[in-house]
Amino acid sequence: MTASRFSPRRLAAAFSLGLALASGAAFAANEQYFPLQSYRVGPYAAGGTGFFGGFIDYMQLINARDGGVNGVKLTWSECETEYVVEKGVECYERLKKGLNGAPAAATNPLSVGIAYATLERSTADKIPLITINHGRTDSTDGSVFPYVFPLQLNPYSEVSAIVNYIGQQAGGLDKLKGKKIVTLYHGSPYGKETIPILDILAKKYGFSVTHIEVPHPGTEQQSQWLNIRRIKPEWVILRGWGVMNPVALKTAAKTGFPADHVIGNIWSNSEDDAAPAGDAAKGFISITTHPAGTDFPVLKDIDKQVVKAGKGNLQDPKRFGNVYYNLGVVNGILNVEAVRIAQAKFGKRPLSGEEVRWGFEHLNIDNKRLQELGAVGLVQNLKLSCADHEGGGAVRFQQWDGTRWKVISDWVQADRALLRPIIEKSAAAYAKEKGITPRNCAKES
């Protein structure tokens, strides 16, 4: 029995396996790994498949077209979270160590719940946590949250930009005085996040704001919209998620509220939010940081090099270029740029999470770089720093014409000067609660 266990044939096989593993490890040594806590099944699969599809296709493009980032191939693996927080944490723990020797660059869970649950772990493990267009507003302050990046747009910037747009429509922010705005929000921490800042903005500009909660999942909104009908607001800000969005639009139509005076936030802005509402969604306005469409050069490259080569990640090719997919592409661009910038400092090799974090903190995407990336109009100008992990804070507005979104405004900037002290105060309170000593950003290079 013992003899057979160590037979020459088995030893030869083990030796071959060892050689194969060794060569695999050598290959993997020149790879940068992205752990993907994706969700492709369950109630939020439409968003997950689009976002992670776009992200993966962009990484495929970088590998196919450029041979990776400065020769370092991008690699990834997926772990299904079903948008469930516990599974998201489990996936984080499983994937954080890297893949076949390739170190993890950053995590991108696209879930507020999972992001909150892994925030402290990410900091302890020194792996950047990317919460593009969402997450904790105060994580914008990188002196307290060194590893968290609410790229492009935090929730406060989002509502500030919406109020600025409403002001534009009224003929100036001074014309907001006496106007009535209702916020219809999802009954969750995500939905409630912007209540304080809206109250501050209402006080500053003299409009009245009423916050109305829709309990999760939001399949019934008759009483909320009857209330809105009674209040007779000029505008409704829809801070929805999933099924709540089309139901809001349908119920608005049912109660006679015009769709073109409903403004959806960043998670109410996809085709999946408007299309199921049918005619009731015609005229619906929402913000976007990343318009839908396939005319951007980077999308054309993905189409040519990845999709037409039969390697596209989307199961349904008709979704190519939709809002969720393009958000995934934008997220891919920003992650890859962070790796590229970090490589310029640390060397053209696979980097640790700590090194990639430096790359994120030094993201500087101007018009020239957007031109080179083929992403003019798809991504906004972005400049991050130790103190500012958001970088952009601008949105555009789009309107649903019954079949697709049409961009109807230029970039509208949030009032970041007004928001900054509020963010710093909140971050300082978090630091005090957790015993964190904030970094001195003036001394960071």
């Binding site: 439409a46 019934e220 009483s223 009857l226 999933g242 139509a253 049912k254 299309a275 199921p276 009731a280």
Partner: protein
């Protein structure tokens, strides 16, 4: 007063939609004593199949017929593949089996038709309708009419047909029904098939209201307090329970919500259901269990 009436009538009409799902539960519970937790998934499966067929070029009625056929096959498979093997097992075993079936159906639906969200247009305009100063929804009125027609059809099935008679016999006393030659398994097959049909109707109405997406299976949560209040074994009870739940949750949200905080629409029906459980455990129309001790 107009506003109160709007909230009340809107709530009653929403309650009818809850009843549509609750009826599916009642049918199966009445005939086999099984609390079918998979009812919500069946609603989702029906709506998703229907809309996917429409998008693949099927005409409305062809898609309806094909979906109905698929629901019958599904019902047959559940009865044959799962429940038949669990006869005489404790109710909790049967409940857990339907819980498992629920997840399998959801996974299967996603595997077959993908994860996308679909719009479903049944051709019924949902424009505001003002009657005597009170705002009503034309779609909700249509849904209420459909529910009434469904209840009438089910009543006729139970009272005027041979199969209905057998079904009532099984519901009253399965052993006695078996003793007089009623084929229990055939009756269960029929009941599951009818529940599949009810799921299809509920799926189309809910799908047109919400869009066809995976949250559709969550409508089951709205049906539970309806069943507790109306009783698990009465179709009329499902309707009355739905009306009570719909009206009370809307009135509570509008008039109590501002006092204690918004968002009570989800849990208020359960408070009501618990009160009913304490006072009338079998619900308003449920059959009281009488046991000789």
């Amino acid at each position: 007063m107009d506003f109160f009436l709007e909230v009340l009538i809107g709530g009653l009409l929403a309650g009818v939609m809850y009843s549509m799902v609750a009826i599916g539960f009642v049918l199966i519970f009445k005939a086999s004593g099984v609390f079918n937790f998979a009812q919500g998934s069946m609603v989702l499966f029906a709506a998703l199949t229907f809309v996917s067929l429409l998008e693949r070029g099927f005409a409305f009625w062809s898609a309806f017929a094909a979906t109905l056929a698929s629901m019958l096959v599904l019902a047959w498979a559940i009865e044959r593949g799962v429940l038949r093997h669990l006869v005489n097992r404790p109710p909790i075993t049967l409940f857990m089996a339907t819980l498992g079936v629920s997840f399998i159906i959801e996974g299967l639906a996603q595997l077959l038709w993908g994860a996308q969200v679909h719009g479903l247009d049944l051709g019924i305009k949902d424009e505001p309708l003002e009657l005597g100063g009170v705002l009503l929804s034309s779609f909700d009125l249509f849904a209420a009419g459909t529910a009434a027609a469904l209840v009438l059809a089910l009543s006729l099935l139970f009272s005027r047909t041979r199969i209905g008679l057998s079904l009532r016999a099984v519901a009253d006393d399965p052993l006695a029904a078996l003793a007089v030659g009623v084929r229990l398994q055939r009756i269960w097959g029929v009941v599951w098939a009818v529940a599949g049909f009810v799921s299809l109707i509920a799926g189309l109405l809910w799908g047109a209201r919400l869009g066809v997406q995976f949250s559709l299976s969550l409508v089951v949560l709205k049906a539970l307090p309806v069943l507790i209040i109306g009783g698990f074994s009465s179709i009329g009870g499902a309707i009355v329970g739905g009306l009570i739940v719909g009206a009370s949750e809307k009135l509570a949200e509008v008039y109590i919500g501002p006092l204690i905080g918004d968002g009570l629409e989800n849990w208020f029906p359960y408070v009501l259901a618990l009160l009913f459980l304490l006072v009338r455990p079998a619900g308003l129309f449920g059959e009281r269990a009488i046991e000789r001790v």
